[in-house]
């Protein structure tokens, strides 16, 4: 029997979306640092504006470098296309704004990145969009929270800070039963560790700032459409299924059977809200994606080595990592994340805030900052930084202890990381 020829992740990471430059043969993706594009004639211009021809008009709406990045992530995720945005937050906002209006409702995991939680908790209600947060480990809670006006179910592939593993097959199934799409933030896992569309998710976004870029130099987001959700059948999404006066009465689901969501997101959301990605950032993120496979493999190897070390340390009360049998999602992780559970995790240091402070200040290789997913190892102690205003009780409510430390494991030699941590752990326990 003949075999199909679909390229694998490491090949797509290097090649998808890009052809050698036709003009000069440049092998690397050229950076099209231009705002706009010369029209050959007036009819061609009108055809481009009216979506009768393929091409670019203005770089807020699309750009050749961004387009190559968008194709690449769509290929890696197994979707139909993508839109590059100014940040991961812009990607989340674009998804929500494309799907719903004031009066709509979202059901979201309660274990979200702080920025996403803030958007849903405080900012979107100002625009008439409410969110109910549920425990991501309680699949029935998602179902119970769905209302007639619900338009989206949302969670992170690996939640924050407890690394809750979202049971995508079950949550997607209940969302689909209610005629709703499931959006996942796949920042912590990347397509190397999980391809959420294959598990049932409908939309994916990334903070490409993190593992996809990997270098910590460029902020960016990517919103990917799986192309399977049937907007017409659902009947809950007039933005996609009814004429849009902002574009000649276009009905997006008639225009594109598979990519109606992306069409509306580009023709309205990116055009009108304008949170586009810079072509320079798109280039830099593409450079990161080229080495996604080898980097993620190393991230995971290092993370596993560090988890093992910390789990055995007397200075550590416990480590939160789904590959450990003590983690509540251990079995689910083995099923959904067989290649690893990411390289961002937290552990609890004995000795509270003071121990945490001494630990952080003794580290030499780990950088103390508020980011994750860098090639360099990173550390943060929430009780003395991001959450320093909270007392112990408030911290506990947020799932954080006074001794909680979050690590993002980079690509350094694992032994150097472990030696650095060992030194800092010893310092943390000195009274």
């Amino acid at each position: 029997m003949a075999a199909s020829k679909s390229y694998r992740l490491d090949t797509l990471s290097l090649h998808a979306g890009q052809q050698p430059d036709a003009e000069f043969g440049a092998r690397a993706q050229p950076i099209y640092y231009t705002t706009s594009y010369v029209f050959p004639d007036t009819d061609h211009a009108a055809s481009l504006f009216n979506m009768e021809r393929a091409g670019h008009v203005y770089s807020r709406i699309s750009n050749p470098t961004n387009s190559a990045l968008e194709e690449r992530i769509a290929a890696l995720e197994g979707g139909v296309g993508a839109i590059a945005t100014a940040s991961g937050q812009a990607a989340l906002h674009l998804a929500i704004a494309t799907l719903m209006d004031a009066g709509s409702h979202i059901v979201a995991s309660g274990s979200l990145y702080g920025g996403s939680h803030n958007l849903l908790s405080y900012t979107l209600p100002r625009f008439g969009i409410e969110t109910t947060f549920v425990n991501p480990r309680d699949v029935d809670a998602f179902r119970a929270a769905i209302r007639p006006e619900t338009r989206l179910v949302f969670g992170e592939t690996l939640g924050n800070p407890g690394l809750d593993v979202l049971d995508i097959p079950r949550v997607a199934a209940l969302a689909h039963d209610a005629g709703l799409p499931l959006l996942v933030d796949s920042t912590f896992t990347t397509p190397y560790l999980m391809r959420p569309f294959e598990l049932g998710a409908d939309l994916i976004f990334h903070s490409a700032t993190k593992f996809l870029g990997g270098h910590g130099v460029a902020i960016g987001g990517l919103l990917v459409d799986g192309g399977s959700f049937d907007w017409d059948k659902s009947g809950k999404f007039p933005t996609l299924t009814e004429p849009y006066e902002g574009f000649h009465g276009m009905v997006f689901t008639e225009e594109s059977t598979t990519a109606a969501f992306l069409l509306r997101a580009r023709r309205e959301g990116i055009r009108d809200f304008g949170a586009c990605m810079s072509p320079m950032n798109a280039f830099q993120i593409m450079q990161g994606i080229e080495t996604l496979g080898p980097r993620m493999q190393r991230h995971i190897e290092n993370a596993r080595a560090v988890v093992k070390f910390l789990d055995a340390s007397d200075a550590v009360s416990h480590v939160v990592y789904p590959e450990l049998p003590s983690h509540p999602d251990h079995e689910l992780a083995a099923k959904l994340l067989p290649n690893g559970c990411g390289a961002v995790f937290s552990f609890e240091l004995k000795g509270g805030r003071d121990a945490g402070r001494r630990f952080i200040e003794t580290l030499k290789i780990f950088s103390h900052l508020a980011n994750v997913g860098d090639a360099k190892s990173l550390v943060i102690h929430p009780a003395t930084t991001t959450h320093y205003r909270m007392d112990a009780a408030a911290l506990r409510k947020a799932g954080i202890a006074e001794g909680t430390v979050r690590l993002s494991i980079g690509l350094e030699a694992a032994d150097d990381l472990i030696e650095d941590l060992a030194r800092a752990l010893r310092a943390s326990q000195k009274v």
């Binding site: 029997m1 003949a2 199909s4 020829k5 679909s6 390229y7 797509l12 090649h15 998808a16 979306g17 890009q18 052809q19 009108a46 055809s47 009216n50 979506m51 009768e52 021809r53 393929a54 091409g55 670019h56 709406i61 699309s62 750009n63 961004n66 387009s67 190559a68 968008e70 194709e71 690449r72 769509a74 290929a75 197994g78 979707g79 139909v80 296309g81 993508a82 839109i83 590059a84 799986g226 192309g227 399977s228 017409d232 004429p243 000649h248 009465g249 276009m250 009905v251 008639e254 225009e255 594109s256 059977t257 598979t258 990519a259 992306l262 580009r266």
Partner: protein
């Protein structure tokens, strides 16, 4: 727009414009396990350039009800019933792959109704490989995977699309996956069993355009040459580097070939 053909609800994309009987009509017919959306760019162009453009969903495809028809003769009969339903007496027909055979048979049966015929990614006869027939008969997902491999040129396997942010292989896969079980097999059987193509070609009286992909593995250019010799008036455009998914691989080149064809063969200006 929706209409009724043989008692079944039937959809045709018109770029959200009402049909205008004072304009010349151009009808686009998709291929196996596809729908009208494969023509979205090209049909939209014609709809905004003085034509009544109709990109149909064949029975059992896209938004059209019914089961897929399993012979080219039945599909040609259906297409004429569709034209009657929308009061189109004469038109250009543009067909891709299986749709090209539907156009060919329609033009042969009803020469007075077809002013021009564009065959995109065509082969006459259109033999379908055993592996595709077997896998599609079994509703095996491998059939879609093989099509994606065969239907895109080596270049297109890695993208580099002109449509911003669109991943061609993903789009084509999701479109095929929307087909009901049995649809792809009915389509492939219709293509494979159509033995009258060369005779039909001799009966065609209108000008014919063939748009072929140089790297097309499903309908390689040589498979269209015999039919080309049977038409009374034919021109052939071979798109360099293109595979079988011509409208997504080289959308502007397909459109430009169609514009050139209608501009030089129309008897009445738009």
């Amino acid at each position: 727009m929706f209409t009724t053909v043989a008692g079944r609800k039937t959809y045709a994309y018109t770029a959200n414009k009402p049909l205008d009987s004072s304009l010349p009509a151009i009808v686009f017919v998709h291929g196996a396990a596809n729908d009208h959306s494969v023509w979205s760019l090209q049909s939209r162009y014609f709809a905004y350039h003085g034509w009544s453009a109709l990109a149909v969903d064949l029975p059992g495809h896209g938004r059209s009800e019914g089961a897929a028809l399993d012979s080219i003769a039945a599909l040609a009969q259906w297409l004429v019933a569709f034209l009657d339903a929308v009061n189109v007496t004469q038109c250009y027909i543009v067909g891709h792959s299986m749709g090209s055979l539907v156009g060919l048979e329609t033009a042969a049966r009803h020469p007075s109704r077809v002013n021009g015929l564009a065959l995109v990614g065509t082969a006459v006869p259109m033999q379908v490989s055993d592996v595709l027939l077997k896998t599609s008969a079994a509703n095996d997902h491998l059939a879609y995977e093989l099509i994606n491999t065969f239907a895109h040129s080596p270049r297109a396997q890695l993208g580099g699309n002109r449509v911003p942010g669109a991943w061609m292989l993903g789009n084509n896969m999701r479109l095929m996956e929307r087909s009901a079980n049995g649809t792809l097999y009915a389509d492939f059987s219709a293509c494979n069993d159509y033995k009258d193509g060369l005779d039909a070609a001799k009966k065609v009286q209108c000008p014919v355009l063939m748009i072929l992909g140089q790297r097309d593995l499903m309908t390689p250019p040589r498979a269209a040459s015999q039919a080309a010799g049977s038409f009374s008036e034919v021109r052939t455009v071979i798109l360099e580097g293109a595979g079988h998914s011509l409208m997504s691989e080289q959308p502007d080149a397909v459109l430009d070939a169609l514009i050139g064809f209608v501009d030089t063969t129309r008897t009445t200006p738009a």
